[in-house]
C-alpha cells in the first residue's frame, strides 16, 4: 500500500466513523490506534498513550481549563449584564444599535478570554433574549452572536493561537499581538454590515424608544464604569504577560483569579455558581483534551508515514504550484475538511503538516498563524460540523431553530472570507503591532 493510500484510508476511516455519530475522540483514537498497530506492529502499542506525554509537555495547554473556568465565572457573575447595559445606552440610537452593541460586548469578552465559549454563553443568555424581546430579526442577531463570539479565538488571549504556537514553535506573545488588529478590523466590518443592513431594512431592528435612552450625560458616564472591571482583568492577564512579568500559563491563572475576585465582590460567587462553573469546566476541558489526545496520536502515526514530505511533493513537484497557490490550496482544504471533520482535531493533525511547508516557502509563520485562526473561526461556524453551531444550539432560546442558525452565519462568513483575503494581501495588518512592540 502506498503512503498516499494509507493517508487517504486513515482520513476516510476517520470521516466514516464520525458519520456514525460515535464520540469524536473515539473515532480519531480508534483510527490512530488501529493504524499504529497495523503499520508498526505490536511495538507501537504505546503510541496512543505516549501522546499523553506530548500533551503533558505542551504545558501552555494549561490555559485551556483556566479560560473555560474564567468564561463561566464571567457569564455567571453579572459583569456581562452591566457591560451590556453600557453598550445599549451608548449605541442605542444607531440603526441596529443593540446588535452593534453586542459586537462591542463580544470584543470586550474576547479580550478577557481565549475561547469562544464565554462569548457564546453570554451572547445567547443575555444579548439574544433582550434583542428578541425588542423585536430584532432573529436570524440576523443569531449571526451576530456567533460571529462576535468567534472573535474570542483571535483577539488576545487566544487558546487557538497557543495551540498553533506549540505546533509551529512560535512565540505566543507575538502571535497574540498579531491577532489584535485583524480582530478589531473584523469587528468593525461586522458593525458596518449591521448598520448598513438595518438602514436598508429598518424592520430588522426597531429603534429603541427615546425616553429609555434620554438620561443625563452624568448617568451615561456612570454606565461607562461597567467597563472598568473588564479592563482590569485584561490588564492583569494579557498586560502582565506581554510585559514579561508573568509567564503565559501564570497569566491565565491570574486572569481566572481576577474573574473570581470580581464575582465575589459582586456577591455572585455562590455555592451554586461555583459548582456549576467547575463542573462545566471539567466537562468542556475533558472534551477538548481527549480530542487533542487522540489527534496527537493520529498525527504521530501520520508523521511516521512521512505525510509532510508527501504533501510537499504533491503540491510542489507534482502539481507545480507557486507558493501563493499552495497557500490558497491549504486554506481551502482546511475549510472544507473543517466542515466535515472535528475542527480542533483538524488543527492538531493538519497544522503540523502545513506549517513546515509554509516556513519552507518563505512565508511568515506569525502571519500564517492569524490566517489559520481566522480559517478556524470559519470552520467552527460552518455546518455540518462546527463547535460554535453545537454551542449555539445548546444555549439559544427555543424559538431560534436550526435552519435559523444555519442561515444566520452566511453574511458573516462572507465578511470573514473577505477579511482573510485582505490579510493575505496586506500582511502588515497582522505584523505591524508585534514588530512595533518587539522592535523596542
Amino acid at each position: 500500500m502506498s503512503y498516499e493510500l494509507i493517508a487517504l484510508t486513515m482520513f476516510g476511516g476517520m470521516l466514516l466513523l464520525m458519520l456514525t455519530g460515535q464520540r469524536v475522540f473515539a473515532a480519531i483514537g480508534f483510527v490512530s490506534a488501529a493504524a499504529a498497530l497495523l503499520l508498526y506492529g505490536n511495538g507501537a502499542i504505546e503510541m496512543p498513550f505516549n501522546a499523553a506525554f506530548k500533551l503533558f509537555n505542551w504545558y501552555p495547554m494549561l490555559t485551556l481549563p483556566l479560560f473555560v473556568y474564567m468564561g463561566y465565572v464571567l457569564s455567571e457573575s453579572g459583569i456581562a449584564d452591566d457591560l451590556y447595559t453600557m453598550f445599549h445606552v451608548w449605541f442605542g440610537r444607531i440603526n441596529g444599535g443593540l446588535a452593534v452593541g453586542t459586537i462591542g460586548l463580544m470584543v470586550v469578552i474576547s479580550a478577557m478570554n481565549g475561547l469562544s465559549v464565554a462569548g457564546m454563553a453570554i451572547g445567547a443568555t443575555i444579548a439574544l433574549p433582550e434583542m428578541l424581546r425588542r423585536g430584532y430579526d432573529k436570524v440576523m442577531i443569531t449571526g451576530v452572536v456567533q460571529a462576535g463570539s468567534s472573535l474570542g479565538i483571535l483577539v488576545p488571549p487566544s487558546v487557538v493561537l497557543v495551540l498553533y504556537g506549540m505546533i509551529a514553535r512560535q512565540p505566543v506573545g507575538r502571535l497574540w499581538l498579531a491577532g489584535v488588529f485583524p480582530g478589531l478590523m473584523m469587528a468593525a466590518f461586522f458593525a458596518i454590515y449591521i448598520v448598513i443592513r438595518c438602514k436598508m431594512q429598518p424592520e430588522l431592528a426597531p429603534v429603541v424608544s427615546k425616553e429609555e435612552l434620554d438620561m443625563p450625560f452624568k448617568e451615561k458616564l456612570r454606565y461607562l464604569r461597567a467597563g472598568i472591571i473588564p479592563f482590569l482583568i485584561f490588564f492583569f492577564m494579557t498586560g502582565l504577560f506581554l510585559m514579561g512579568i508573568t509567564s503565559l500559563v501564570e497569566s491565565s491563572a491570574v486572569g481566572a483569579t481576577a474573574a473570581t475576585i470580581a464575582a465575589i465582590s459582586k456577591g455572585c460567587f455562590t455555592r451554586k455558581v461555583i459548582e456549576e462553573s467547575v463542573r462545566k469546566t471539567l466537562g468542556i476541558s475533558c472534551m477538548f483534551m481527549w480530542v487533542i489526545l487522540a489527534a496527537l496520536s493520529f498525527g504521530a502515526v501520520f508523521d511516521g508515514i512521512g505525510a509532510v514530505r508527501a504533501i510537499e511533493s504533491l503540491f510542489i513537484t507534482t502539481w507545480h504550484l507557486s507558493p501563493w497557490q499552495v497557500l490558497v490550496m491549504m486554506q481551502l482544504s482546511y475549510i472544507i475538511m473543517g466542515m466535515f471533520l472535528d475542527d480542533t482535531a483538524m488543527l492538531v493533525i493538519v497544522a503540523p503538516l502545513y506549517v513546515p511547508l509554509i516556513i519552507h516557502l518563505g512565508f511568515n509563520p506569525i502571519w500564517y498563524g492569524v490566517l489559520y485562526t481566522i480559517t478556524c473561526q470559519i470552520a467552527y461556524m460552518t455546518p455540518p460540523f462546527g463547535y460554535n453551531l453545537f454551542l449555539m444550539r445548546a444555549m439559544a432560546p427555543p424559538e431560534i431553530t436550526l435552519p435559523d442558525i444555519y442561515r444566520s452565519i452566511v453574511p458573516f462568513v462572507l465578511i470573514m472570507v473577505f477579511s482573510l483575503i485582505l490579510i493575505m494581501i496586506f500582511p502588515q495588518i497582522t505584523l505591524w503591532l508585534p514588530d512595533y512592540i518587539y522592535a523596542k
Partner: protein, 170 residues
C-alpha cells in the same frame, strides 16, 4: 436486564461521579499553584522551579481521571449530521455497535499505560527537568483513570443496550 448488569451500572456510575466530582475541584489547585509561582518570583524574589510542572501533573490527572465523569455528563461531541435525525432507539442501537471503537482505543491506551508504568517503576523514571520528579505517581493515576474510563464505557454500553430495547436503567 439481568440484575447484575443493573448493579454494575449503578456502582460504576456512582464511582465515576464521585471521582469526577472530586477531580473537578483540581482546577482551583491548578490556579493556586500557578499563582504561587508568579507571586514568589515577582514579589518575594524567590523563584520556585516546580510550580508549572506540578500544574502539568494536575491537568493530566484532571482530564484523565475526569474522563469517566465527562462521559456521564455527555460532554463529548459527536458529529450529528445523520445521528440527530435518528430516533432515540436507533441512536442507542448504533452506539451499541460503535462503542467497539471506543473500547478498542481505550484498551490500547490501557496496554500502553501499563507497559509505560512498568518501565517507569523498573528504571525509576524521572522527568527531565530541574525539579526532576518521579514519573511513577502520575502514571499510576493515569492507569487508574483509563481503567475507570473503560469501566464507565462498558456501563454506557449496557445503558445503550437497554435503551435499544426500550428499557431505562439508572
Amino acid at each position: 436486564m439481568p440484575k447484575i448488569i443493573v448493579l454494575y451500572v449503578k456502582y460504576v456510575d456512582a464511582i465515576s461521579i464521585k471521582v469526577g466530582r472530586a477531580t473537578m475541584y483540581l482546577i482551583f489547585a491548578m490556579i493556586g499553584c500557578l499563582l504561587l509561582g508568579s507571586i514568589t518570583r515577582n514579589i518575594l524574589h524567590m523563584p520556585l522551579s516546580w510550580t508549572v510542572e506540578m500544574a502539568q501533573f494536575m491537568i493530566t490527572a484532571y482530564y484523565i481521571a475526569g474522563g469517566a465523569y465527562s462521559m456521564i455528563l455527555r460532554e463529548h461531541v459527536r458529529m450529528d449530521l445523520i445521528y440527530e435525525h435518528l430516533s432515540e432507539k436507533t441512536r442507542a442501537k448504533v452506539d451499541v455497535v460503535t462503542t467497539f471503537f471506543l473500547l478498542f482505543y481505550l484498551l490500547v491506551l490501557l496496554f500502553g499505560s501499563v507497559s509505560s508504568t512498568m518501565y517507569a517503576i523498573e528504571y525509576g523514571q524521572r522527568n527531565f527537568s530541574q525539579w526532576n520528579p518521579s514519573m511513577i505517581p502520575i502514571k499510576i493515576i493515569m492507569v487508574a483513570g483509563i481503567v475507570l474510563m473503560i469501566l464507565e464505557s462498558i456501563s454506557v454500553l449496557f445503558k445503550d443496550i437497554a435503551a435499544a430495547r426500550g428499557i431505562k436503567i439508572s
